[in-house]
């Protein structure tokens, strides 16, 4: 009896934990969407990293029980809406990228920040390549390597954030 109660308690605790992290994930994704919505123009627009995808990848690697392929797809639909693209373009690219992230998630969390960043960089490039392919089906043109600029800035941002976070944690432990 006692055992059951304790497991129940544990379960409910876990559930609240789960809910807590769930809220955090959704909130950060919303914040990323807001960043994505900022009315940039010109050069800034060209080099603007894909904030939403970065946030998605972060949670896909850290909280795969909350953030899954479905969430990525929904975020992609939001991106389609705000960018006025064909419905499902960004969604498909995000879902495929999310799948690639989740596939190696167990291994990735054991990697160092640098190794992780390399993989995330690949994922960002894959996402853009998929988008490029989908868009060229509907008649868009390729502009040269400048198109992949957001992946480069994105990975710099990723590395900067994670690196500062780790060094911060390290300092706090000391």
């Amino acid at each position: 009896m006692l055992k059951i109660r304790s497991t129940k308690k544990k379960k409910s605790q876990e559930e609240t934990m789960d809910q807590h992290s769930r809220r955090r994930v959704y909130f950060s994704l919303l914040a990323a969407l807001l960043l994505q919505l900022l009315p940039f123009s010109g050069l800034l627009l060209q080099i603007k990293p894909d904030f939403l995808l970065l946030a998605l990848l972060f949670w896909l690697l850290r909280a795969p029980q909350v953030c899954n392929v479905g969430i990525a797809w929904t975020a992609g639909i939001m991106m389609d809406l705000v960018s006025g693209d064909l419905f499902g373009q960004n969604a498909l690219a995000y879902a495929l990228t999310a799948f690639l992230a989740v596939m190696y998630q167990r291994r990735l969390i054991l990697f160092t920040v640098l190794q992780q960043s390399a993989y995330v960089f690949l994922l960002l490039l894959v996402n853009q390549a998929i988008l490029l392919m989908l868009k060229s089906f509907s008649g868009a043109e390729y502009f040269g390597w400048v198109y992949f600029m957001p992946s480069f800035t994105g990975i710099l941002l990723w590395y900067a954030v994670l690196h500062s976070r780790y060094s911060f944690n390290f300092m706090a432990h000391k």
């Binding site: 059951i4 876990e14 789960d18 919303l30 969407l33 807001l34 960043l35 994505q36 919505l37 900022l38 009315p39 940039f40 123009s41 010109g42 627009l45 060209q46 795969p64 029980q65 899954n68 392929v69 479905g70 797809w73 992609g76 939001m78 809406l81 705000v82 960018s83 006025g84 693209d85 064909l86 419905f87 499902g88 373009q89 969604a91 498909l92 879902a95 495929l96 799948f99 989740v102 596939m103 989908l134 868009k135 509907s138 008649g139 868009a140 043109e141 502009f143 400048v146 198109y147």
Partner: protein, 312 residues
Amino acid sequence: MDQQQAPRFFIHGPSPFTRLIVFTTLSLALMASDSKFSYLHQVRQLLVTAIHPLQFVAFSPFKLTNDVQSYFVTQQSLKNEIEVLKKKNLYQGVQLQSLVMFKNENDNLRTLLETSKAGAQSSQLAEIMYTGRDPFTHKVIVNLGATNKILAGQAVVDSAGVIGQVTRVFTYTSEVTLLTDKDLSIPVQVERNTLRAIVFGNGRNNSVNLPYLPANVDIKKGDKLVTSGIDGIYPPGLAVAIVESVNTNVRSPFAQIVAIPAAGTQNHRQVLILTSDTNNLVAKDIEKVLGADAQNPLNKKEKVSRRNHGPT
């Protein structure tokens, strides 16, 4: 009692691969239905209205800085601007006087020709909220929407010329496709010799093309292209672009003509959305001609040739 429970360590629910298959199929279906049929237009409109508060929040810091900047303008710059505007006003006033004369004359001639008179074009001032997020397309979002009675297909201009066309209308905003976009084409006329052509957006750099014109076409560098008005969307006579280069290639029977848009498609905040010209006179004239042709097909040639040279 001892229920076997999978540890929380493992991911619950369907496997990522199943999810991937489901969502890939779903997005492919969505893409197909969105591009081939227009079922999803209502859904998109609804969802965009739902996201509007988010966009408003994202837009507000930029709006705030803009407002603050415009508040703190120096007296000197204001003075200079007034000076420039005064001069401009003087020049334009003189031009306007002759315009009134020409308009009266044109009206008289049109009455003689028994064609419909040009009505005054009404317009709405819109502000560009942000440029589209896709580097592939040349689109901007403006702050007027269905609540301001904007309709898809309306022409958008600035003081220098045509900027583009409203392509999608949401509740509070609408999407304007710039004339440099690959998907936009505008029927034009060369101002010098009233030669008609169609301008297509280049999509790559800030320029437009005139394809499908023969290599010996009478278009020179510096020619001004204006709207011909035969589409019934753009009122006739608006500046569209200025020819930048004309290249002929032995391999191609067509001339490669590149033109630069007259309007500043990149550097504007405010634009005018012209109210749909339902009684566009040129379109009406064409309709009239077609109607007349149906009645007596013998006079066809004569009438068409008259229309070609008539309204400019």
